[in-house]
């Protein structure tokens, strides 16, 4: 064999030290070069926006027959519901895989050989994943919102980011027809009272939902760093976000909410609400998002500690 070194061009002289900048470039290459990223993000967009469309279109059709449903209708929440309920699950899968796939494929050994300063690798991974997720979540949230409002606009209940919208708060509904021999059912409604939807509340809902989904993704990433196993991570995250809150329902009402508001998923009950007082038992959108973010921060930190401390 001819001299291998002679076949390679001379490297430019090195100065400084390999650090976060290179690690971020590397992690971005990693996340953009595997299909699972595109599959998950496409699923996030399609499912969140698609189901959002289905819900809003269905609601709009329903309002034609039952105009009373317009009373107190939260069009923002209707358009974002699919995103924060199902979207968070999909993004949790990506959050888990970004880190657990390093272990399932063995790539972690190659990654940490190239860059042995593990804190840098972990930080770069978290930064890149969070950034990608936040951008995609914001896009999803805004698109789902605008498409949903377009479908509801003919009924005058669509919320807006640019001006205040006033909708009826209550309705007395009178229905005729329906049933055998009585012709097709038709309802009329007389409305009283008004709800005012402020654009600022709508903006908080749209951005807050994107933030909530992003923070859930970080929770999944943190659990992934702790568990190092894809299926295990996803199971734990689903249990935390969906099953524990269901079990909580069994607790006595007088102190149930004292626990509920400290759970990571509580934010999704308030963050997208723009009509009415919302859930009186919970804090408002920002403090509840803060609770979710605190969970994410704790899990991310434990993950970082273990990522550095354990044998790879």
């Amino acid at each position: 064999m001819t001299s291998p070194g002679a076949q390679l061009s001379k490297l430019p002289p090195a100065s400084g030290r390999a650090g976060l900048r290179g690690a971020i470039a590397s992690e971005f290459t990693k996340i953009r070069s595997v299909r699972s990223t595109y599959w998950t993000l496409a699923a996030l967009l399609i499912v969140s926006i698609g189901i959002g469309i289905a819900i809003c279109a269905g609601t709009a059709a329903n309002m034609t027959n039952n105009p009373g449903n317009k009373a107190g209708f939260d069009a923002t929440q209707a358009s974002l519901g699919a995103f924060f309920e199902i979207g968070q699950l999909i993004i949790a899968v990506l959050g888990a895989m970004v880190i657990t796939s390093e272990y399932s494929t063995g790539m972690i050994r190659t990654s940490l050989t190239a860059m042995p300063r593990r804190g840098v690798v972990y930080a770069a991974k978290a930064i890149v994943f969070t950034t990608v997720t936040l951008i995609v979540s914001l896009v999803t949230s805004f698109v789902a919102f605008f498409v949903g409002q377009a479908l509801l606009s003919s009924h005058g209940v669509a919320a807006s980011l640019f001006h205040t919208v006033t909708i009826p708060a209550n309705a007395n509904v009178h229905c005729t027809g329906g049933g055998p021999g009585r012709g097709p059912q038709g309802c009329t409604a007389t409305f009283f009272g008004t709800d005012v939807i402020h654009p600022s509340a709508v903006l908080v809902a749209v951005i807050g939902t994107a933030l909530f989904v992003t923070i859930v993704a970080i929770i999944s990433f943190g659990v992934g760093a702790i568990v190092r196993h894809t299926a295990g991570t996803i199971s734990i995250v689903i249990a935390t976000l969906f099953i524990i809150p269901i079990l909580e329902q069994a607790l006595p009402d007088n102190w149930r909410w004292d626990i509920m508001r400290f759970l990571p998923d509580a934010a999704n009950q308030v963050v997208s609400v723009t009509v009415g007082p919302g859930n009186m038992h919970l804090w408002s959108a920002w403090p509840q998002l803060g609770v979710t973010a605190l969970w994410a921060a704790v899990l991310l930190t434990i993950g970082a500690y273990l990522f550095r401390k354990r044998d790879a």
Binding site: P4, Q7, L11, A18, K30, T110, S111, L112, A114, P116
Partner: protein
């Protein structure tokens, strides 16, 4: 230059590496030998900081691995060719490694060319054969043009062409003055490539010597001599302290132990004995290695018929 001092690594109650000390010098291929489970991979993982040593210190060119400014410029290591994300193309795999150390993008094309994978650079590596994966792994080690290279069982499962390619590559890298540290559980593999040997068993050092030293040390080395005056030669060699015997069952050649071919030739010359053949018979290194590590093999399968030990009389072969 790799220096390992008093390395101990335990996994729970099991001690994988036990007080290991050795040094690996540049400019030659150093073979790292031991049976499966002897602690070779663990040692290499500790050198790279993938596993944390419980005791001992490890430096590469005087630095700890995680302190190196640009680790890929100092050390290129391939522990497991399959330790890649199979969904990523060869090019992107190498690119994400190069980026961590700020290495230029064109470098990726160069190393792909070097290992002959340019054609499949954009293909996902999950479809690669083991040989191609090894080449991809080796391409990764060369990204930073490092002075120290480490390979863990690089020829395992390769076809003869792949084995030859890796052997030649390792020799060429050493010839350029680089430190080449390569592990194997097969002595026969090392025989063709290694200049120096580190032999371990059950996490402990068994031998640290040059290949030629290992060969001469091995008990089976002998000199085969064919001569019309066999009996005279036996007498002369025995007088000089050698051990000689005539192979009466074969072609009547004399087998001399404990003496080099040169010494036997000199004796024959002094005695005026005519020689028709004078050959050094190297004991199979595989046998020497097995003998050396016999007591340290961790998992031994019961092989039917092979468990008959000396002293047991079965049949009438005598």
């Amino acid at each position: 230059m790799i220096e390992v001092r008093g390395l101990t690594k335990r996994y729970g109650a099991k001690t994988a590496v036990d007080g290991l000390t050795f040094g690996i010098e540049p400019g030659k291929v150093t073979g790292f030998l031991g049976p499966n489970g002897a602690g070779k991979t663990t040692t290499m993982r500790c050198i790279l900081g993938l596993d944390y040593a419980d005791e001992g210190t490890i430096t590469v060119d005087g630095q700890q691995y995680h302190d190196m400014a640009y680790p890929m410029r100092e050390v290129g290591a391939l522990l497991d060719a399959k330790a890649v994300h199979g969904g990523r193309s060869a090019y992107n795999h190498l690119l994400c490694l190069a980026q961590t150390n700020g290495l230029p993008r064109r470098r990726v094309d160069e190393v792909l060319e070097l290992v002959g994978l340019s054609e499949v650079a954009r293909k996902r590596s999950k479809g690669f054969s083991l040989g191609m994966s090894q080449r991809l792994g080796i391409a990764g080690t060369m990204l930073g043009d490092p002075q120290v290279l480490m390979f863990d069982e690089p020829v395992n499962g390769l076809d003869p062409e792949g084995i030859l390619w890796i052997r030649n590559l390792m020799k060429a890298l050493a010839a350029e003055g680089r430190t080449v540290f390569v592990s194997s559980h097969l002595m026969s593999e090392m025989e063709y490539t290694a200049d120096h040997l580190i032999v371990i068993g059950r996490g402990k050092l068994i031998a640290d010597c040059s290949m030629s030293e290992f060969i001469s040390r091995s008990s089976g080395a002998s000199v085969r001599v064919r001569t019309p005056s066999a009996q005279d030669l036996v007498t002369a060699v025995t007088a000089k302290g050698g051990v000689a015997g005539i192979d009466t069952e074969g072609d009547g050649a004399v087998e001399v132990r404990g003496m080099t071919a040169e010494a036997v030739g000199d004796i024959a010359f002094e005695q005026g004995l005519r020689l028709h053949e004078l050959t050094t018979i190297r004991a199979s290194l595989e046998e020497a290695f097995m003998e050396l590590t016999a007591s340290s093999v961790e998992y031994r399968a019961a092989v039917p018929g092979a468990g008959v030990t000396a002293g047991t009389t079965i049949g009438s072969g005598v």
